[in-house]
């Protein structure tokens, strides 16, 4: 019901809002003095308020980085928790300025939903979690299983594709809210729980006995998770995109939160350009020239954000894998700032 209400509100917002697509999001954000960031309502490692009400996570840090670049203050972000089902409506209707909510970049979401995905901040794939006592070692052994899945995700579609292409049967039990999905899996209503692998690890640590559950090795889809913005505002799209690229470039240059002030004195022209010591690459974005410096100063480079939220510095302990830099065996690659 809440979801229906939300969708209806979205429709109402569309009906009542002035034609705002042309108005610059950057100006709106500056005027408001706050970035409205669509966030996950509770996913360990990506977007989750801690016991003090502070939001933490990789996507959360991304929004803080945008706020640092635009408003010079990583704290000036209002996090709006959204369910998988409501997230795109909230972005379309202008409720949020940027949607950093582990959303998969797909063609139809760009062409049909009027969105643009800025840059992949986490390369993910869909997997399965099962109870260890089922003695299942591969997703191909799941023929006939009941599988819990969240509604309104690419997951629902990948699941159907995977079982169809492998000639297997399954029963999908679908819930709108991810907490209901977990609860159903926990009560053994389902044999397996499927979603993006990163999320499986995130939800596993929340279960009563995480060690009783195992994530199967198969990754059945490509899930490039990327922050999204509305179409029709190229400047804002650039800002969001280059926020991610700045964090990648910073890691590549070895610029960290701790040494960023020191690096201002670096002789490397690439470092000097990125941090705004040489040239002005912020102006074209509608920002000041030290925009990238502020991002690194506030949240650190991509590697730092990764390790802090989902990597070795977190409970999830996910390996960098695909998300390592291109020159370290991964596929995270950013165009140069020049």
């Amino acid at each position: 019901m809440k979801h229906l209400l939300f969708a209806a509100l979205g429709a109402a917002a569309l009906a009542c809002s002035a034609l705002g697509a042309g108005a610059a999001t950057l100006d709106q954000v500056k005027q408001r003095g706050q970035l409205a960031c669509g966030s996950n309502s509770g996913l360990t490692g990506f977007g989750l308020p801690d016991d003090k009400g502070q939001w933490t996570g990789l996507d959360v840090d991304f929004c803080r980085a945008v706020a640092a670049a635009v408003l010079n203050d990583p704290a000036k972000v209002k996090f709006i928790p959204l369910s998988a089902k409501d997230r795109f409506t909230a972005l379309q209707s202008g409720e949020v300025d940027v949607l950093a909510r582990n959303g998969t970049w797909t063609s139809s979401r760009e062409s049909d939903l009027g969105l643009l995905f800025a840059a992949v901040n986490y390369y993910d794939g869909q997997g399965f979690m099962v109870r260890k006592k089922l003695n299942v070692n591969s997703a191909l052994e799941l023929n006939g299983a009941s599988i819990c899945v969240q509604q309104g995700t690419t997951t629902e579609l990948n699941l159907a594709d995977y079982f169809r292409s492998n000639n297997m049967k399954y029963e999908g039990v679908v819930f709108a809210d991810v907490n209901e999905v977990i609860k159903a899996y926990d009560t053994s209503r389902c044999d397996a729980f499927t979603t993006d692998v990163s999320q499986l690890y995130g939800e596993r640590v929340k279960l009563v006995n995480p060690d009783e559950h195992v994530v199967l090795p198969e990754v059945i889809s490509k899930e490039p998770l990327a922050p999204a913005v509305r179409q029709g505002d190229d400047q804002w799209f650039d800002i969001v995109k280059w926020t991610h690229f700045a964090m990648i470039n910073a890691e590549e240059f070895g610029i960290t939160k701790a040494n960023v002030d020191e690096k201002l004195k670096s002789d490397d022209p690439g470092v000097r350009r990125l941090l705004g010591v040489e040239g002005d690459f912020g102006k074209g974005l509608g920002l000041t020239k030290d925009w990238a410096y502020r991002i690194v100063k506030a949240v650190g480079n991509y590697g730092e954000a990764f390790e802090r939220n989902v990597g070795q510095g977190s409970k999830l302990k996910i390996a960098r894998g695909l998300n390592n830099l291109w020159n370290k065996g991964g596929i995270q690659y950013a165009p140069p700032v020049r």
Binding site: M1, H3, L4, A7, A8, G10, A11, L14, A15, C16, S17, A18, L19, G20, A21, G22, A84, K85, F88, T89, Q92, S108, R109, S111, D112, L113, G114, L142, N143, G144, A145, S146, Q151, G152, T153, E156, L157, L159, A160, D161, R164, Y170, E171, G172, V173, V174, F175, A176, D177, E180, K183, A184, T187, S188, R189, D191, R230, Q231, G232
Partner: protein, 399 residues
């Protein structure tokens, strides 16, 4: 006096004519409302175009790509979004119909129990009504869903319900109740035809018996003859056609049972929640309806020598129904509307499938929400129309 005043009024300026004024006010109001509505719609359409959000129903015939675990009509991931809509609609109608029937039965029973002279029965009914109607339905649904799932065993430890000769008949586990599925052979149509014939013959016999009773006062055994027609004829046809019915027994294969038909725990939880919640309101309606019939009516019925049962059937209930029917309609509509909470217990109803999965995949939020609202409006108006027609028949004929 009024005859003389008329020409004076006619001569007055139309500005002071109350009829003209009233017309102008109403026209202004309708015009403003229409303009607001048009502006809102045009604005929404312009905004949607500007943001490349689809504004039509082109998605209807596209392949949906997702599965639904409980369908009354054929559906697979290769079906269209339109097919998914029908699956959701039938699932909504199923849970609404089941809930309406059982909520009515339970509501009438509890409503009558509240009037019982037995202190224990009356108080038990009162406690049930007062507690359940004051707890939000969503909480009750979540409670029932977990209350049903938690104690049920896993598939491999299913409770076995034995049938005849001790062989396993049905299985109960946290995937639901798995029953043998009847498979109809080619000759089964004769059995169905015999059943229809039996019903028709019974109806004809009942009409004839009623006329005979009016003319002669002699009562005919309508029940027995009807039973013979309705049950006997199909049985003869069934055996004559060589028993064209086999049961497809469920077999445990891997994770789940293969074959057989399954009642989902989600459906049971949703229907149970709706029934228990709505029955409390129906019970109160029934109680007030019965109490609204004047005591003199039952005294008069007793004076005529009617026993308790004929008194209830012929005197009290027909009069109580006039009070009960209109608010009962409201409760039926509430069941249909409250069934949209299905998404919280994982039952694939119209809102879950169409305004959920389909909306999210296609992104056509405005059209889908409008279509969904229109569907519930139509269901509600149809229910109300049927109930109103029935109410008109039961109403006091004023002469």
């Amino acid at each position: 006096m009024s005859v003389r005043a008329e020409p004076a009024v006619a001569k007055a300026s139309p500005f002071y004519d109350p009829r003209v004024r009233g017309f102008v006010y109403q026209a202004l109001l309708i015009g403003t409302l229409g303009w607001l509505l048009y502006e809102a719609a045009a604005n929404a359409a312009a905004n949607m175009r500007a943001r490349n959000i689809p504004t039509n129903f082109d998605f209807w015939n596209k392949t949906s790509g997702f599965d639904i675990n409980f369908t009354l009509v054929p559906y697979s991931a290769q079906s269209t979004f339109g097919d998914a809509f029908w699956v959701g609609l039938w699932n909504t109608l199923l849970v609404a119909a089941v809930s309406v029937v059982f909520a009515t039965l339970l509501g009438f029973a509890v409503g009558i129990a509240r009037l019982s002279t037995n202190w224990l029965v009356a108080k038990a009914a009162a406690i049930y009504v007062e507690s359940l109607r004051n707890i939000p339905l969503l909480l009750q649904l979540l409670f029932w869903y977990n209350a049903i799932l938690k104690p049920l065993p896993n598939v491999r430890e299913s409770l076995v319900i034995p049938g005849l000769f001790g062989a396993p008949f049905a299985y109960l586990n946290n995937r639901g109740l798995i029953l043998p599925e009847p498979k109809f052979g080619p000759g089964f149509a004769w059995t169905a035809a015999a059943f229809a014939l039996g019903v028709a013959l019974t109806a004809a016999f009942a009409v004839w018996a009623a006329r005979a009773q009016r003319l002669t006062g002699a009562q005919k055994p309508v029940g027995l003859v009807g039973l013979a027609f309705v049950v006997g004829l199909p049985l003869i046809a069934f055996f004559a056609a060589g028993q064209p019915l086999t049961l497809d027994y469920p077999v445990l294969r891997g994770f789940n049972f293969a074959g057989g038909a399954r009642v989902l725990p989600e459906l049971v939880a949703l229907a149970l929640g709706l029934v228990l919640y709505t029955a409390t309101f129906i019970a109160e309606i029934v109680r007030s309806g019965i109490q609204s019939v004047a005591v003199g009516q039952s005294e008069a019925a007793r004076a005529l020598g009617l026993g308790t049962k004929p008194m209830l059937r012929l005197v009290i209930i027909p009069q109580a129904m006039r009070v009960i029917t209109p608010p009962l309609t409201n409760q039926f509509l509430n069941i249909v509307k409250n069934s949209t909470l299905a998404v919280f217990v994982g039952y694939p109803d119209l809102v879950s499938v169409f305004a959920g999965s389909v909306l999210n995949i296609t992104g056509a939020a405005v059209q889908i929400i409008l279509a969904t609202m229109a569907v519930y409006l139509v269901i509600s108006l149809l229910t109300a129309a049927v109930m109103n027609a029935w109410n008109n028949r039961a109403m006091i004929r004023e002469r």
